[in-house]
């Protein structure tokens, strides 16, 4: 994953005629994203916010080349939509949909890897590159152009962080929500590599939570590869064991997946760790 992939010019929206799809198509265009077309079964020929609707990605490809698809298709139909995007080899796929069955995602992530598609999400707010690109639902006004790279599993905590920084006049180069599901595409280490390699990024914010091992992998990566300052916050310090808290992925199944263990691992790797967003936001320079 690199910046040119995220800044791809021709963006389509799958599920463009739905309530979320149409609302956020307009918001993305207002934020400067070049939405060229959308898909919706049986609604070809219509327009959403001036954007033409097609029956399929294959039909769009007859008129345009496609760099990215943002998916708002409801969960029961999301697998079909994702596989369509993967089969059509869309380089970047951002899936906002929440509640996609885990076996569906196993199949999708497997095929996405085979076809060299980069998948962000699902169950995520997407990507905001303030002033340049919006792929998803992160409210545009929360960000401002700058040099902080934010990566997070949580939507609202992403918003909190971006808004807190913007209020302090500290801008962001990337705001990326990787999503709260157990099986998802791009992870922390992909984003850390992006931030480390991009000279426009000067500091990094990582927001993780209980469940899974991705923050531990991030800690290893930070120790080995990251030279820029990392500010980290792990939520769920007081989560009970074995109970899902909101996100499908936020379930504590062993001590190594706890907020404390992850915080310690990140601190050992050289990240500065915090117990609240307020403190984290205050500390970043």
């Amino acid at each position: 994953m690199n910046s040119s992939l995220l800044l791809g010019q021709n963006v389509i929206v799958q599920g463009i005629t739905g309530a979320h799809g149409s609302f956020h198509t307009a918001a993305m265009r207002a934020a400067g994203t070049n939405v060229i077309a959308g898909t919706s079964p049986n609604k070809a020929g219509q327009f959403v916010d001036g954007v033409p609707v097609y029956n399929s990605i294959a039909a769009i490809k007859k008129d345009f080349s496609i760099d990215c698809s943002v998916i708002f298709v409801p969960a029961p139909f999301a697998k079909t939509a994702l596989l369509e995007a993967v089969t059509e080899q869309i380089p970047l796929i951002v899936c906002i949909t929440e509640g996609i069955p885990i076996h569906d995602m196993l199949e999708v992530t497997h095929k996405a890897r085979q076809n060299n598609c980069v998948l962000v999400g699902p169950n995520c707010p997407g990507i905001l590159i303030p002033g340049e690109q919006k792929l998803g639902i992160i409210p545009t006004h929360l960000g401002m152009p700058g040099t902080v790279g934010i990566v997070s599993r949580s939507g609202t905590l992403t918003y909190e962080t971006a808004a807190g920084l913007t209020e302090r006049n500290i801008g962001q180069a990337y705001i990326i929500g990787i999503g709260g599901d157990r099986i998802h595409g791009v992870g922390f280490t992909d984003c850390l590599a992006l931030f480390e390699d991009d000279p426009r990024v000067s500091s990094i914010v990582l927001i993780g939570e209980i469940g899974g091992k991705s923050e531990l992998e991030a800690a290893t990566f930070i120790k080995q590869k990251v030279t820029k300052p990392v500010y980290a916050y792990i939520v769920g310090r007081h989560a009970p064991s074995g109970v899902q808290l909101g996100h499908a992925g936020a379930i504590l199944s062993s001590d190594t997946e706890s907020a404390k263990a992850k915080t310690i691992a990140l601190a050992h790797a050289g990240a500065q760790t915090f117990t609240s967003i307020t403190e984290l936001v205050k500390t970043i320079k």
Binding site: P101, R237, A250, T278
Partner: protein, 352 residues
Amino acid sequence: MKLLEYEAKAILKKHHLPLPKGTIIQKGITPEFPLPAVIKSQVPVGGRGKAGGIIVVSKSTDIIPTIDTLFQLTIKNHTPRVLLAEEVIPIKNELYLALLIDRDVQEIQLLAHKQGGMEVEANHEGFLRLPLTKASLPECSKKLAAFFNCNVKLLTPLLKSMFTALVTSDATLIEINPLIATPNGVLICGDCKMEIDNAALYRHPELKNHENPDSNFVRLDKNGTVATIANGAGLAMATVDAVAGIGMKPANFLDIGGGATTNSVLGAFEKIMEFPRIEAIIVNIFAGITRCDEIARAIIEAKQAIPHLPPLFIRLAGTNFEEAVAILTQHDIPTLSTLEECVAAVKGVVHE
């Protein structure tokens, strides 16, 4: 969602996996079953055997007293609604076999151990782990047969059925422990734990009557003194953390979700009124898609609709924040600007 043993076994049976002959016992109805039999409490927790929830019955006069005992026995806060009576299977040795989804490598994984039974979780060593796909089934069956030192002709159909059961039931875990090897050289699924993906329940109408825990509202402490309402799983966890971090007892985790409306906020207030010792309620909203003014109106409605509502400590930020503050100020409801200010203020009113 965790299934009970008898529900899990019904799924295994559908997929032709070898099981003990069993009979379900409901309260007040004692069906006939052959003796000896093992009668098992159907509760969704491990350690039933140690807790006295599994009893072997050999005499017909013992059946009724055993059933009564088991129906009255609470195991880790769960009392059974159903018991399962099964034939007693002769044991040569007990094995462990599980299929699960490994989130970190994004694969289905086979996990096996030669010593099944009650203590397997304590063993950190001696596990066979294999990534499992439809294509790798024959090869994995061979490896597993060698590992278990049993006939591959026995294991191939068993593993295939288990894999099909996992995929078609949208299960995230099927754990067979013990997998009993009998003196006759047969394998039988002694006990089964199964977890179904909550996100896939819409395509499993056969499970729609199952009590499904709500992951957006989680009871943490029935004696908790501080209730929390937030939007987004991350923010809701952060709110619980802040309350506990300052030494107070959070009663609940509650994520009202993105795009919260007046009705969803009212519903949230109603849910937290079930906690008897609540002395303060923290409302922590960061509005992206949600609109703060809508939350503010819902708070005012809740205050009017619910008598004896404990004091509210409200932190709102994001979309339409100014309108919300104006609405709340009109009704003399103060707002705070950070979560930390909320918990500090709550600390001042809660008696520990």
